[in-house]
C-alpha cells in the first residue's frame, strides 16, 4: 500500500452530492484519493493549484456543463484523463464526450467494476485508448 502522499488523486465532479460521495468511496476502495466537486467552476479553481490524476465527470451540471469543462481543459492543455458518467446515455452525448477527449463514457446508473476499470485504464500512460461501455 502506498503512502497518502503518493496516492493518486481522482477528482469527481457531480452536482448530486450523495452520488459524488458514493463514487468517491468507490475510488477510495480501489486505493485512490478522492476529491469531490459540485460544479465545473469549483473544480477549475482547485485544478489551477494541483491537477488530479483522473477526472470522473458528470455531463449535466449547473453553470458550466461537463462538455464545456472538457473543452476548457483541452484549451488549457490539461492532460488529465476524463471518464464521463452521465444519465444522458444517448449516442449524441456519448460521441460528443468521446470526441471531446474523454477516455471513457459510462451511462448512469453505472457498474462499479466498469467505473473502476475505466479509471485504471485511463491512468495507464501507455494505454490511452478510449473505452466506451454499453449502457447498463
Amino acid at each position: 500500500m502506498s503512502t497518502v502522499e503518493e496516492r493518486r488523486v481522482v477528482a469527481i465532479v457531480d452536482d448530486e452530492k450523495p452520488v459524488c460521495r458514493a463514487i468517491g468511496r468507490l475510488v477510495m476502495s480501489a486505493g485512490f484519493k478522492s476529491e469531490i466537486f459540485s460544479s465545473a467552476e469549483e473544480f477549475l479553481r482547485s485544478c489551477r493549484e494541483r491537477r488530479p490524476d483522473c477526472l470522473i465527470l458528470d455531463l449535466s451540471l449547473p453553470g458550466m456543463s461537463g462538455l464545456e469543462l472538457q473543452q476548457q481543459l483541452a484549451a488549457d492543455c490539461c492532460r488529465t484523463p476524463i471518464v464521463v458518467v452521465s444519465a444522458h446515455n444517448d449516442p449524441v452525448s456519448r460521441s460528443q464526450a468521446l470526441q471531446g477527449g474523454a477516455v471513457a463514457f459510462l451511462g448512469k446508473p453505472f457498474d462499479d467494476e466498469a467505473l473502476l476499470e475505466a479509471v485504471h485504464s485511463a491512468m495507464k500512460p501507455e494505454n490511452p485508448k478510449q473505452v466506451s461501455t454499453p449502457a447498463f
Binding site: 460521495r21 463514487i23 468507490l26 477510495m28 476502495s29 444519465a87 446508473p109 462499479d112
Partner: protein, 479 residues
C-alpha cells in the same frame, strides 16, 4: 354675451365638419356646399337669407352677403339686426360684410370670373386669418344680363370646384321670375342642389348627380356595413375556434400528464437509487480492503439510509399526487375516448410508422368514469404498444384497438404485434418501477392499473397466439 356662440373657436377646422345652414329644408351641410335658391318674392328671399346668415354668425363663420335688387343694403342690415340677437356685437367685430352686387361682380366694368373667384378665395383666407371657422357667402344675380349668362353659368360651375375642399358655404340666389326653363336647368346643373319656393313652402331640388352621389354613398355605406358584419362574424368564428383550440390544448395537457409524471419520476428517483447502489458497492469494497476504513463505511451506510428515505419520500409524494388527482366521474362514451386519444397520438403513431385498426362496438352504452383518467390509460396502452413494436421489421406494425360489451360493462383492448412479454415477467409488469425498456420508468402500467381499479374495473394482459400482447381493461356501465 348670451346668444353668442363659438367665440373661442380656433381657426383649425375639419373639412368634413357639418355646418348649420339655418334653413330648415336644407338642414346641416358640410363645408364646400354650393347651392342655389329660386325665390319668388322679396320677403321670401330676405327671410331665408337672414336665417342663413344668422346661423353663420352664431357658428363663428365670417359672413359675406352680396346684395342685388330687389333687396337694398339697408333692408339687409335692418333684417339682420331684427333677427340676430346681439347683432351689434357681430357688427363691431366686423363678422359680416354686405356688398353691392354690381360692385362685387362687375368691378372694372365687366364680369371676370377669375377675378371674382380670387376675391372669394381671399375672403376665405381672411376668415381663417381672423379666427373664424370659415366663410359663409351669398350672391345675387339680378344684375346679370342675358348676354353675360353663359359666362356666369361657367363661373357657377367653377365655384363648385373652387369651394370643394375649402371651409366655405356658398348660396346663390336667382329670381324665379327672370329665369326661363333653360336658365333653371343651367343653374340647377351648376349647383349641388337647389331650394325653391313652391306652394308657399321651401322645397329641395336635388341634381341627378347629387342624388346619384348620395345613392352611391348609401350603397357604399351599406356595403361597408355588410363587410363589417361579415368581418365581425369571421372574427367571432375565429375567436370560437381559438377558444376551442385552447380547450383542446388544456385537455391534451391533462391527458399527457401521466407521461410527464413518469418522466419526472424517472429523473427524481434515479439520483437516490444511483447513490444507494454506488454507496452499497463502495461499502462492500471498502470492507474487503486489507485494513478497512470502518469510519468511511459508516458514512456510506448513513448516506444509503438517507437516500433510501429520500426515495421513499418521492414515492409517497407521487402516490399522494395520483390519489389526490380529483376524479370527476361522468357518463363516458368509451368509443369517443378512444377516438380522441387516437387523434392526440396521431403524430406519434405516424412517426413510428404504426398503423391503427379500430374495431369499436357500435352503440356501446356509456361507462361511468373520469374522462381524462380513462384517456390517460388508453394513451398509455397505445404508447406501450408502439414501443413494443419499435424494433419490429419483419412485419407491418399494427395496433388493433377494439371495444366490446358484455352484461356487466364495456372493455377496451389494445393489441400490438411487438416483441411480446417474457412469461417470467408477466406477474411483475404492473408493479411500480418494473420496466423492461432501456429508458422506461415502470410507472405507466402501475398507474393505469390503479386508475382502472379505482373505477371498479380490471386491467389485464394476455400474450397473442402469434406475436405481441393484448392489454384489456374493463369498466362497469353507468347505472
Amino acid at each position: 354675451m348670451e346668444g353668442i356662440h363659438n367665440m373661442t373657436t380656433t381657426p383649425t377646422t375639419s373639412i368634413n365638419e357639418m355646418r348649420r345652414s339655418g334653413i330648415d329644408v336644407v338642414g346641416d351641410r358640410p363645408w364646400g356646399t354650393h347651392f342655389c335658391n329660386f325665390y319668388e318674392s322679396r320677403k321670401d328671399l330676405l327671410d331665408m337669407l337672414v336665417l342663413y346668415f344668422k346661423a353663420g354668425l352664431e357658428d363663428n363663420e365670417f359672413c359675406v352677403w352680396v346684395v342685388s335688387e330687389p333687396l337694398s343694403e339697408q333692408e339687409v342690415w335692418d333684417g339682420l339686426r331684427e333677427a340676430v340677437p346681439e347683432f351689434d356685437h357681430y357688427l363691431s367685430k366686423r363678422s359680416i360684410e354686405v356688398f353691392d352686387g354690381r360692385a362685387w361682380y362687375l368691378k372694372g366694368g365687366a364680369f371676370d370670373s377669375r377675378r371674382v373667384l380670387t376675391a372669394w378665395d381671399q375672403k376665405i383666407e381672411q376668415a381663417l386669418d381672423r379666427g373664424y371657422a370659415g366663410l359663409r357667402a351669398s350672391g345675387n344675380t339680378a344684375w346679370l344680363h342675358k348676354n353675360d349668362w353663359s359666362a356666369f353659368s361657367e363661373y357657377e360651375g367653377l365655384i363648385s370646384g373652387s369651394v370643394a375642399g375649402k371651409p366655405a358655404v356658398v348660396l346663390c340666389t336667382y329670381a324665379l321670375g327672370s329665369c326661363g326653363a333653360n336658365e333653371v336647368l343651367d343653374v340647377v346643373s351648376t349647383h349641388q342642389f337647389a331650394t325653391a319656393m313652391r306652394h308657399g313652402t321651401w322645397e329641395l331640388v336635388e341634381t341627378p348627380e347629387l342624388k346619384q352621389a348620395k345613392a352611391e354613398i348609401k350603397k357604399m355605406n351599406d356595403e361597408l356595413e355588410s363587410r363589417v358584419l361579415q368581418r365581425t362574424k369571421e372574427l367571432e368564428a375565429a375567436n370560437q375556434k381559438l377558444n376551442q383550440a385552447q380547450a383542446e390544448l388544456a385537455h391534451i395537457n391533462r391527458v399527457m400528464t401521466m407521461g410527464e409524471l413518469t418522466a419526472s419520476i424517472a429523473h427524481e428517483i434515479n439520483q437516490p437509487l444511483a447513490a444507494i447502489v454506488g454507496n452499497a458497492k463502495a461499502g462492500v469494497r471498502l470492507l474487503v480492503c486489507p485494513s478497512p476504513d470502518l469510519e468511511e463505511v459508516q458514512y456510506a451506510l448513513t448516506d444509503i439510509a438517507e437516500q433510501g428515505d429520500r426515495a421513499a419520500e418521492i414515492i409517497a409524494r407521487i402516490s399522494a399526487q395520483i390519489k389526490n388527482a380529483k376524479a370527476e366521474k361522468t357518463a363516458v362514451d368509451i368509443n369517443e375516448s378512444v377516438r380522441e386519444v387516437l387523434a392526440l397520438a396521431h403524430r406519434e403513431l405516424e412517426k413510428h410508422q404504426v398503423s391503427v385498426r379500430t374495431e369499436l362496438a357500435p352503440a356501446l352504452a356509456p361507462v361511468i368514469g373520469d374522462r381524462i383518467q380513462l384517456q390517460q390509460v388508453i394513451l398509455n396502452l397505445i404508447m406501450n404498444g408502439v414501443e413494443a413494436m419499435e424494433s419490429v421489421t419483419s412485419h407491418p406494425k399494427t395496433l388493433v384497438i377494439a371495444s366490446q360489451s358484455d352484461q356487466s360493462g364495456a372493455s377496451v383492448s389494445v393489441q400490438d404485434s411487438g416483441i411480446g412479454i417474457d412469461p417470467g415477467n408477466g406477474k411483475r409488469i404492473f408493479e411500480a418501477f418494473f420496466t423492461t425498456k432501456p429508458q422506461g420508468m415502470g410507472m405507466g402500467l402501475a398507474i393505469s392499473r390503479s386508475i382502472v381499479e379505482e373505477h371498479g374495473g380490471q386491467l389485464m394482459f394476455s400474450p397473442n397466439a402469434d406475436q405481441g400482447s393484448t392489454f384489456r381493461f374493463s369498466l362497469p356501465f353507468a347505472a
